[in-house]
Amino acid sequence: MPEDSQRPSRHRDEVVVPLRKSGPGDEALDAIVVGGGAIGLACAWRAARRGLRVRVLERDRPGAGASGVAAGMLAPVGEANWGESGLMRMAIASARAWPAFASELAADSRLEVGYEACGALHVALDRDEADELRRRFELMASMELGVEWLRPRGCRDLEPGLAPTCAGGVHAPGEAAIDPRLLVAALAAAVEHGGGEVIVDADVTGGLIEGGRLVGVATADGREHRAGRVVLATGAWSGTTPWLPPEARLPVRPVKGQMLVLRGSPELRPCERIVATERVYVVPRPDGRLVVGATVEERGFDVQVTAGGVHELLREAYRALPEVAELELVETLAGLRPGTPDNAPLIGPWGPEGLLVATGHYRNGILMAPLTSEAIAALLASEPPPGSAQQAHPGRFAGESEPRLAAAPALEETPR
């Protein structure tokens, strides 16, 4: 399969950022970040803020992978699941960090980042779904997520566009959303303004290993990029990194998601907040667009948009919010989430000395960007990462029970 066909390739607004085709000379860099999605860029930005010299190598354009297809829900409530309490703790910690992250990013980038504290309403559309949602609500409530059970009338008072079949719901007023495309553009700009570089069309083809330590990478154009550390943030492709030794292969697989973008008008806004059922979510954007997502498909690197996928998303969105039928269908997209065996990300040292990974965020990359980037920036600065990020240590699938924190010489549990 040609490389390009593996990437989300639908027509869409181009991200406009000051992009470089090549960087300045190879003076001492503190970190190379491989992958210019939301995670890679956020790591670079937070590192630059700490005064580190960073360079991001993106083989396509910033946000060309999953970031450009993400809905941008900052909604840990919807991810609540039994047996995943560690993941939930990370999601909640990161969601709490989002408001400050967004305002700092707006200041550093001088761009709009599109953070909307819109809240979310998880609804059931029949009795069966209501029973299932109530079961989930009890879990949410036990995690003190600030949720409230609403009877059908309460749901429709909040969202009059909801189908009258609504059988109850969970209101999560603390949830928020961000437009990931604005986010990516702002992050890229913030990296540049902070003294870092974002280099596009830079396909990393080799790792520079000296004395067992990864000291940099080589790109397809023959250039070498040397740095104190290399951060791998290549999303769904991190499990297939050919320039890493085979034993350092990461347990990351692509999980396909299809989504749609609809466009309404100021008079036609089917909902004011995130509306989610057990099968679909609808995220309103301030400009009147509506994002509908997402399928979850184990299809390898396939990013075909299928009739069945679009049908399912539209049918389920229509079932919840009948007014969506009136909207213009402006985009159909498919992207690849980086999935791990336990759905939790991989953040920290891994494989050869000098390598840090920040990947495997599955459905939660945008949500987890603040926590991940803070952890990576701390490790790059030889400081202990936030305690909640330590549950994402990459060695957990290789039989390492404790995080390997090579970056920090004197390490203790961070006081929370």
Binding site: E84, G239, P254, E298, R299, G300, D302, G339, P341, D342
Partner: protein
């Protein structure tokens, strides 16, 4: 698409048999299960688990291990057999048999085509045949089902059809050459248990191929009941995958299937209206 190397050629665990259920009840304590024949193979576990709906691959792996299942169904429509790190890799690593199914097919033609694709990529001619009638109930479409079964049997497939709890339909499927019949207990994913145990019992009495209860199991007692009714096995998915603790539920299901099978073989006492004292009356000598 890369095809998998060894999915079809694996020899499942074979447990030495001690005859059919009715014959060997006396030594049941020594050998809790004799294993059962399905297709041209003998299987040690009577529990078949679906691979869909688990919260994570790790949760699936733990549950499959706890279940003791040897056969795991996989929806061809929902996985790419060539993809690395997917459910199939887990099933392979655990040494289980991945049984492809035709979930999501609504016509005989679609099901037959999907079975062909499955044979190619899974390198097995076993197929769990599902032809769905509507997406609200997910009930089988009987007419399409028999049509697809005829074609696939004729083409040499080992056909395991998901069917209604209709004894006549079950017999028709057997007559066209299916290797088992797999009646539902209640709608897929409903967890409503076995709504018509009489029909299941009639199917069991008349069948000469294995009967596997497929769909509707909600909790362990449902699985035990299926076995007590005389089913040869149970196929379940949602009840484990969507349990709060899938691993624990998988273990419970494994034990329930064993318990129900054991109770069936042990021969239950008849139901009576009045009490019958378990201690013998005065003056009657205890024997043995």
């Amino acid at each position: 698409m890369r095809s998998r190397v060894d999915s079809g050629s694996r020899t499942p665990v074979s447990v030495p048999g001690d005859g059919p259920a009715d014959g060997g009840a006396a030594r049941a304590g020594d050998q809790p299960d004799s294993g059962f024949d399905l297709g041209d193979r003998s299987w040690g576990s009577r529990l078949i688990v679906g691979s869909g709906g688990f919260p994570s691959l790790e949760a699936m792996e733990r549950a499959l291990t706890a279940s003791g299942a040897e056969i795991v169904t996989v929806a061809l429509r929902r996985v790419d057999p060539g993809a690395r790190g997917s459910a199939l890799e887990v099933i392979d690593r655990l040494g289980l048999f991945a049984l492809p199914n035709t979930a999501g097919c609504y016509t005989a033609r679609d099901a037959v085509r999907t079975a062909h694709l499955a044979r190619e990529v899974f390198e097995t001619d076993w197929i769990k045949l599902e032809v769905i009638g509507d997406d609200r109930t997910l009930f089988p479409d009987a007419v399409e089902l028999v049509g697809a079964a005829e074609i696939l049997v004729d083409e040499g497939f080992t056909v395991l059809p998901y069917t209604n709890d209709d004894p006549i339909l079950a017999r028709r499927l057997e007559d066209v050459g299916c290797s088992a019949v797999m009646p539902l207990g209640s709608p897929i994913g409903s967890g409503m248990g076995i709504r018509n145990p009489y029909n299941v019992q009639i199917i069991v009495e008349r069948a000469t191929v294995p009967v596997i209860l497929d769909a509707g199991i909600g909790t362990a007692s449902d699985a035990a009941l299926a076995m007590e009714l005389g089913c040869d096995g149970v196929l379940l998915s949602s009840s484990v995958a969507r349990a709060k603790d899938p691993e624990r539920m998988a273990l419970a299901m494994r034990r329930a299937v064993e318990a129900g099978y054991g109770a069936r073989r042990a021969g239950r006492i008849p139901r009576k209206l009045h009490a019958e004292a378990s201690t013998p009356g005065e003056g009657i000598p205890e024997l043995g």
